[in-house]
């Protein structure tokens, strides 16, 4: 807050004028530095509608240091002229004067003085005229008085060339009276304090207005990852639909559960080194439900359960190979097998967890992603049921074009019957990736901006809550 005296002096000046005043003029009037006036204007502005001030900038001619000296003491040539007595002055003495050199040549070209080189005792300078008119000084004094407008541009430029004048940009405020103009100052409070509440003094105080345009201070908090927020919502949807969560905390799986149990033949391209990560240590799974394994072998190699089978030489060695599961359906297979070992009760299962593919990586494919899977097992399920439940699921997601993001189907009898599930039981299932709908939802084009260690934490900090259906 600037000095109250200055503020009130400014306000008194403003009171006298009809329109407004320029802060530069105020500075000149009060004889203080302009910066102090600027400070005063800002303080007054902060008080509310006491004054209004508009910033403006103008160009102005100003004397340089040398210019001010000349305005005061006369031009160099005038000083040289005045220093010469009627009997003249030796040139070397004249040259010793501060203005000697410049003044001598200017006075010479003005023909105010002459040089007698042949004078006895060395060259000597004499006046040639009685009186002179110091126009340079006069012009500079005009500028000093703020009357630079009286000079022609040519004159000003000449003085500029002599480094006596300079043109400067002046920032100033045009100050006018505000709606609650007054010449006295009431100090405004910034914040309400406990003391004010206790004493009731807040009733008399004026409070400094808030700037509602500014952003608030960000709260000091942690943030959940956006993909995990979407995962939470998918879990919620499944739970709302009565689906029980499967234990998918086993990234390593045997080829048997990942492929063979699903009636996927051993020559299937998905089982290629190019598509699946195989494990070198521990390379092989060593324990299988033996009678079930025999039934799987049979249905692949010879058929059965009403199937022709694939009619190839099924090898246990291929089934034993450990891998990083390529889909969570491996877990669904384990769960359905387990279900088949008990008295059958209908189930609805879901899972959302990581799966792994040894694929070529691009903007939408990583070597690992999250798979969402839903499974329903019951007697008499139809394709109409599958389509009905998919419709309900994707309606909850708020996604219209669900065909694009997922896969669905009915598990084959060659998969279910060897597990020991009853003949009439059908199992419908669907799956999709967690990343794909999240990217569509949040308009992210590159999956690397969403998952992995290279994500920008700012994105995590800034991501909104996830409401899939809105």
């Amino acid at each position: 807050m600037a000095d109250t005296g200055l503020l009130e002096a400014l306000l008194r000046l403003l009171e006298k004028v009809d329109g407004g005043i320029d802060s530069q003029d105020v500075a000149a009037d009060l004889g203080v530095d302009h910066q102090l006036i600027v400070g005063a204007v800002k303080s007054l502005q902060a008080l509310g509608e006491v004054i209004s001030a508009e910033q403006k900038s103008s160009k102005r001619w100003e004397l340089t240091g040398e210019g001010r000296e000349i305005a005061e003491q006369g031009s160099h040539e005038a000083r040289v002229f005045n220093a010469i007595p009627d009997e003249g002055l030796p040139q070397n003495e004249l040259m010793k004067m501060p203005s000697g050199k410049v003044g001598f040549s200017k006075a010479m070209s003005n023909k105010w003085i002459r040089l007698d080189k042949a004078h006895e005792g060395g060259p000597r300078v004499f006046k040639t005229v009685e009186t002179i008119e110091d126009t340079v000084r006069d012009k500079l004094q005009l500028v000093q008085k703020g009357l630079s407008a009286k000079l022609e541009d040519k004159e000003k430029n000449e003085l500029k060339k002599r480094k006596l004048l300079s043109e400067v940009t002046v920032k100033s405020y045009w100050i006018t009276k505000g709606s609650s103009f007054s010449t006295t100052i009431t100090k405004q409070e910034t914040e309400l304090t406990p003391e004010m509440i206790a004493s009731g003094s807040w009733k008399e105080k004026k409070f400094k207005p808030y700037n509602f345009e500014a952003m608030g201070v960000a709260p000091d908090c942690g943030h959940l990852h956006p993909l995990m927020k979407v995962r939470t919502q998918f879990r919620q949807i499944f739970l709302e639909m009565g689906f029980t969560e499967m234990p998918t905390n086993n990234f390593i799986e045997s080829s048997f559960w990942n492929f063979d149990s699903l009636f996927q033949p051993q020559q299937h391209p998905a089982r290629d080194q190019h598509d699946t990560f195989f494990i070198s240590d521990p390379a092989l799974a060593h324990e299988f439900p033996q009678d079930y394994l025999e039934r799987v072998k049979q249905v692949h190699s010879e058929g059965g359960y009403g199937s022709q089978g694939y009619k190839y030489d099924w090898k246990i060695e291929e089934a034993q190979k450990n891998l990083l599961r390529t889909h969570t359906t491996a877990v669904s297979a384990r769960m359905l097998y387990k279900l088949a070992q008990q008295k059958f009760t209908p189930v609805k299962y879901f899972s959302i967890d990581r799966v792994f593919r040894n694929e070529t990586l691009d903007a939408t494919h990583l070597a690992e992603f999250h798979q969402i899977e839903g499974v329903v097992a019951d007697y008499g399920l139809t394709l109409g049921n599958l389509m009905g439940i998919l419709h309900q699921f994707f309606t909850k997601l708020g996604l219209k074009k669900w065909v694009e993001v997922g896969n669905s189907g009915v598990f084959r009898p060659e998969m279910l019957l060897p597990m020991g599930l009853p003949e009439g039981v059908s199992v419908i299932a669907w799956g999709l990736s967690l990343e794909r709908p999240t990217m569509i939802k949040y308009g992210i084009n590159n999956i690397r901006e969403l998952v992995g260690h290279k994500v920008n934490l700012q994105m995590v900090y800034d991501s909104p809550i996830c409401r899939l259906d809105s």
Binding site: D220, C221, G222, H223, L224, M228, T232, R235, L239, M241, G242, T244, E245, N249, N250, F251, I252, S254, Q267, Q273, F277, F278, I279, S280, D281, P282, A283, L284, A285, Y305, G306, S307, Q308, Y310, N322, L324, P346, V347, K348, R354, N358, A367, V376, D378, L381, T382, L383, G384, N385, G388, I389, H391, R412, P413, I428, V451, H453, V455, N456, L457
Partner: protein, 590 residues
């Protein structure tokens, strides 16, 4: 899903009808296919190689149609047209017939020798008589073989097809295997003879053939087929001989398929002959060929086997969720090339599966075809009446609850990869890889996928490194699975759910991480204390700065560590500030 590309005008000519793109798209959908793209050779070239290369290329309109992976009968124009015409009931599905040589002559014979057993033991063969090629038919014939090679033949590993101008060779043919140095012939489209060894190096740089060399490259004996005069028909699965190559003028074709999987070889041969016998003088007939096995067995191919399945209309109705008469279902199936009749007993339907439909191996496949013909969009959607109570997996429920409160405690959740390099979990953490119990991947394409992570810390440190420009302090956490070898499990490994958090700032902030431990324990309702509670005690761990590491015990059991990271660990993860970390197993709190 294979994509078949056909010329639009040829397709419409064969279908005897013109369609708009939208109409054809609709037809594809009804038939269970997808019109993937409408383009031209020129457009494809412009897209792939730029305007210049495309100059002069054909701008004939091409339809690219996605075909289900096991529908080998739809991989060429002939098959597509036949399928669609039958579907639209404009054509009755043809009956494919194997015939004996016309003039009562001996059938062609292919003799397999025992040397093939070690490399490619199976072979089947057939003859197409008096075929008439046009340029388009010829191209389609070559294209179908390529499509089969890429799909059912699994890039020629399971089956390789060779087609020959029968009039240039004379049987009986011998399928044998020889050392590559002893094989010498002029291969297709070459001007001179090469030994097999020379051929393998010649094709090393061939953009097409080099992909198949690995199939036999390291075998001591290479498969080879000769005619009775010692002329080489082919060296499967790499290349045919030049001598017997087919042309537009070829009238009689000898087809052989060699294989490691006999079932697939029979299917492949059936596909080739059923598709192209259409152009024989007597359409849809195929002349059988004899194959003699090393043990003297004699088989005649192609099998062209028809099979009949009997199922009830009720079965279809119940599985699809419709209510159609048996007659109507039989009609639906007949439109899918599965000729069906109501047998007269109840609602039983006799369904005949032709040799072209090798994909139909179970009644459920028939049910699916009925659903396609009925129209998926015509099936009424209904909610399953399955009543169940949902349960969360306790481990995931705990994880979800803890995540919320860790964020509330001021830590931000990271999501890092489960796969990483050996270096990440060992060297960079100043640990020995042998002691990590890590699961190793045998076929990683890059070092990023060498192992499954054994701890969450490297992922968090890499996240810090990628976000060094963010304002300090950085406080991160992750609750997720690591993978450890475990002999007691059927597959020899198990997941372990861990909680890891890091504090990265100008000062190590051990007290912050320690405070987080106290908060987590409070959330888990475990009190400080030696016996029933939790406590920490000084420990040495090479990842941490000496004297700045403690082991965490809960109910007397070690559950993890916390401390200030070793400066070398910080530098190895390209970080510059002190960092403290906590890593605990949350499974004991279930």
């Amino acid at each position: 899903m294979p994509t078949v590309s056909v010329k639009r005008d040829l397709l419409f000519e064969a279908l005897g009808q013109k369609y708009t793109d939208e109409e054809f798209d609709e037809l594809c959908f009804e038939f269970g296919l997808e019109l993937d793209e409408i383009t031209s050779e020129k457009e494809i070239l412009i897209r792939e190689q730029g305007d210049e290369k495309a100059e002069g290329a054909s701008d004939v309109v091409l339809y690219k149609i996605d075909v289900p992976a096991n529908r080998y009968d739809l991989l060429c124009l002939e098959g597509l047209v036949r399928g669609l015409q039958v579907f639209k009931e404009k054509l009755e599905a043809p009956r494919y017939k194997r015939v004996s040589p016309a003039d009562g002559g001996e059938p062609q014979r292919l003799v397999i020798t025992e040397e093939t057993a070690s490399v490619r033991p199976h072979a089947v063969a057939a003859v197409l008589r008096n075929i008439t090629f046009t340029q388009e038919r010829y191209e389609s014939f070559i294209e179908l073989q390529e499509k089969l090679h890429q799909n059912i033949c699994r890039k020629r590993t399971l089956v390789a097809i060779g087609t020959h101008d029968l009039d240039t060779i004379s049987g009986p043919f011998t399928y044998t295997a020889k050392p590559p140095g002893e094989i010498r012939f002029k291969p297709l489209n070459q001007s001179k003879e090469y030994t097999a060894t020379e051929l393998m190096s010649l094709y090393k740089t061939d953009s097409h053939l080099r992909h198949y060399l690995h199939i036999i490259e390291n075998e001591p004996l290479y498969p080879i087929i000769y005619d009775s005069n010692g002329i080489v028909l082919s060296m499967p699965p790499i290349i045919n001989g030049d001598h017997s190559k087919i042309s537009l003028n070829t009238k009689n074709i000898f087809i052989e398929c060699t294989a490691t999987d006999l079932t697939k070889a029979k299917t492949t041969l059936d596909m080739v002959v059923t598709m192209f016998s259409e152009y024989c003088e007597e359409p849809f007939t195929v002349e059988g060929a004899e194959v003699v096995y090393p043990d003297g067995r004699l088989c005649v191919y192609p099998e062209l086997a028809y099979r009949t399945e009997t199922l009830s209309g009720d079965f279809i109705n119940k599985r699809v969720g419709i209510n159609e008469s048996a007659e109507s279902i039989a009609q639906l199936l007949t439109r899918m090339c599965l000729r069906s009749e109501v047998s007269g007993e109840g609602d039983l339907i006799q369904v005949e599966i032709p040799p072209t439909r090798a994909d139909v191996i179970h009644a459920c496949d028939i049910m699916e075809d009925a659903a396609i013909a009925y129209g998926f969009n015509n099936i009424v959607r209904s909610t399953p009446r399955t009543y169940t109570i949902a349960n969360q997996l306790p481990l995931n429920k705990l994880t979800e609850l803890l995540r919320q409160d860790l964020a509330a405690a001021g830590f931000t959740e990271a999501l890092t990869f489960a796969l990483c390099s050996e270096e990440d979990i060992a060297d960079k953490l100043r640990k020995n890889i042998a002691e990590t119990r890590a699961v190793h991947i045998s076929n990683p394409k890059t070092t990023e996928f060498q192992v499954a992570r054994t701890c969450l810390l490297p992922g968090l440190l890499k996240t810090l490194a990628a976000n060094r420009k963010m304002p300090l302090p950085l406080k991160l956490f992750e609750i997720s699975d690591v993978v450890l070898k475990d002999e007691t499990k059927d597959i020899g490994a198990r997941n372990n759910r861990r909680l890891c958090a890091v504090y990265y700032n100008k000062s190590p902030g051990f007290e912050v991480i320690h405070g987080l431990l106290d908060r987590v324990m409070q959330l888990l309702d475990v009190k400080p204390g030696r016996n029933q509670g939790y406590h920490i005690q000084a420990a040495e761990d090479s990842t941490f700065f000496p004297g700045r590491c403690a082991e965490i015990f809960s109910c007397g059991k070690s559950i993890g560590h916390l401390g200030v990271l070793h400066p070398d660990v910080i530098s190895r993860f390209e970080l510059t500030m002190p960092c403290s970390a906590i890593d605990i197993d949350i499974e004991p709190f279930l």
